[in-house]
Amino acid sequence: MSEFVFLFRATEAEQREAMGTPDRAQQSLQTWLAWIRDLEAKGHLKDRGQPLEPTGKVVRGKKKVVTDGPYAETKDLVLGFIVIEARDLAEAVELSTGCPMVEGGGSVEVRPVRNLTF
């Protein structure tokens, strides 16, 4: 078994669209909870991760310039992450497809955690 991080991304417009109507918001919430519960039940959920505020700062360069960021309107914003355990990347990808964000306009970035053993 290896570890993978699911990075949840969406633009602000996509988020608003997914929120849409009360019915759609409720659907999205229920799908999310069912998906997480399922991951947990099957032993895939390694770490519940964290939700992230959409605002923050970006620090860069020799001069350690601090700017406002990330730029929510134009880019896919990372909204949060969880860590899961799966046999391989293919299985991890398969597991990610149940996330409502995928159909709801955002995306899930599936990244293998680097294996540091020899």
Binding site: M19, G20, T21, P22, D23, R24, A25, Q26, S28, L29, Q30, W32, L33, I36, R48, P51
Partner: protein
């Protein structure tokens, strides 16, 4: 723990009216934003912490807190509800006033006021219904468009025009207004149309349509909780809704196919709703006014009281239709009367009655006119003629559900006549 179906939609309506009471109807958009914020917050928190013990209360508390924040932030820049504006200016009275706005009895009253306001005489009926569905029932423009065979843009325009009319009135309709009785009529009509759309509607999304019936019934029940609105006519409307809704489980089968009344499995009718409908019909039978709703309810009651199709009192139903034609005639009512006449007197008389309908041209796009002809010709044994009528009906089908029903009828005529090919 799972959420009640459509909990968010229901709470949305309640939140918006409570917030409108505080912000004023000219700030309806702000009220909707704050409600939206509450849902966003719910998603953020519940995704991580799970669903709380009392999700509805959680939502309302969040909306309340957000409202207080908004008022504190904006009270120098905006005016809020004229009825309570001054009370929002000071911290002494801010919290109690907001609490009061979110109290159950206040929300009930404000929902009524909002319903009456949405049925403004300056708005066409379809705009009134769209407004009620959007504000009170929490439906989005897309959802309303799919229910009413209209484009999303058209619905959005209807809603925005409606909200302008609401805002221009400066405050919600006062239930003690002199116009109350007239407006009540308009409210009943809007709820009747809403229910009809859900029950008979031409759109394909059968799931959404059944929700329209549920919403219409819920709002009619709300009307009945307010004594000045709980007139015999309102009771009659509530009765007819219950009696029709009772048939829904048999009307639409699991595949979403339509079963006509005469073919329905009556054991699937909702007995509780039938009982409720009949009781409401009793309540409505007071006073001197006999309205169209009364008669429609009586007809539905006659059907509901027949354990099988063959035990239906068609003579009674025809006499009801005669009365209905006298006070609210229309080609569709005449059509239904003709069908009842056929049941009472035979296919010949039924066909005569169909031919005799006044303004028959108005039924030119209505599939159930040729379908009725088809049924009666089938009853007379004229399979070829019946097939032609059903084909004509099929050509007028307005959605896949009607299509499937009518295709079945066409095939029924073809299969037993032997010589005809089904795809001619």
């Amino acid at each position: 723990m799972d959420l009640d179906e459509h909990l968010f939609r229901r709470e949305s309506g309640r939140m918006v009216v409570a917030l409108t009471r505080i912000f004023g109807v000219h700030n309806l958009a702000l009220a909707e934003d704050v409600a939206q914020d509450a849902f966003c917050r719910a998603l953020e928190v519940w995704k991580v912490r799970g669903i709380p013990e009392n999700p509805a209360a959680w939502l309302m508390t969040t909306a309340k807190n957000r409202a207080v924040d908004v008022i504190r932030r904006e009270r120098t820049a905006r005016t809020f509800a004229p009825e309570i504006g001054r009370l929002l200016e000071t911290e002494w009275t801010l919290a109690p006033v907001v609490d009061e706005a979110f109290a159950a009895h206040t929300i009930r009253d404000e929902q009524l006021r909002m319903m009456f306001s949405c049925c403004h005489p300056r708005l066409p009926e379809d705009a009134q219904i769209a407004l009620v569905l959007n504000i009170l029932c929490g439906f989005g423009a897309n959802e309303i468009a799919s229910a009413f065979l209209a484009g999303r843009a058209a619905i959005e325009k209807r809603i925005s025009r409606g909200k302008k009319v609401l805002a221009s009135a400066r405050r919600l309709f006062d239930l003690s207004d002199a116009e109350f009785t007239m407006r009540l009529s308009a409210v009943r009509r809007a709820l009747y149309l809403l229910f009809s759309e859900g029950y008979h509607g031409a759109s394909g999304e059968s799931a959404v349509r059944v929700e329209l019936c549920a919403e219409a019934m819920r709002l009619t029940a709300l009307l009945r909780e307010y004594p000045p609105a709980a007139t015999p006519e309102t009771d009659a409307l509530a009765s007819l809704m219950c009696l029709h809704a009772a048939r829904l489980p048999a009307r639409l089968d699991s595949a979403g196919d339509l079963n006509p009344l005469l073919d329905q499995d009556r054991s699937r009718w909702d007995a509780r709703l039938v009982a409720q409908g009949l009781a409401l019909l009793e309540f409505s039978a007071v006073g001197s006014e006999l309205t169209a709703y009364h008669i429609e309810a009586a007809i539905a009651a006659a059907h509901a009281s027949a354990p099988t199709v063959d035990e239906t009192d068609w003579a009674l139903i025809v006499s009801h239709y005669d009365r209905l034609m006298a006070i609210a005639s229309s080609p569709v009512v005449a059509l239904n009367r003709a069908i009842a006449i056929a049941q009472r007197d035979g296919a010949e008389r039924g066909i005569e009655a169909l031919h005799a309908i006044d303004d028959r041209e108005r039924l030119n796009t209505y599939p159930f006119y040729p379908a009725a002809m088809g049924e009666l010709e089938l009853g007379r044994g004229n399979r070829a003629a019946a097939r032609e009528h059903f084909r004509a009906a099929l050509a007028l089908a307005r959605n896949p559900t009607e299509q499937r029903l009518l295709e079945k009828r066409v095939r029924t005529c073809a299969s037993e006549s032997g010589a005809a090919k089904a795809d001619e």
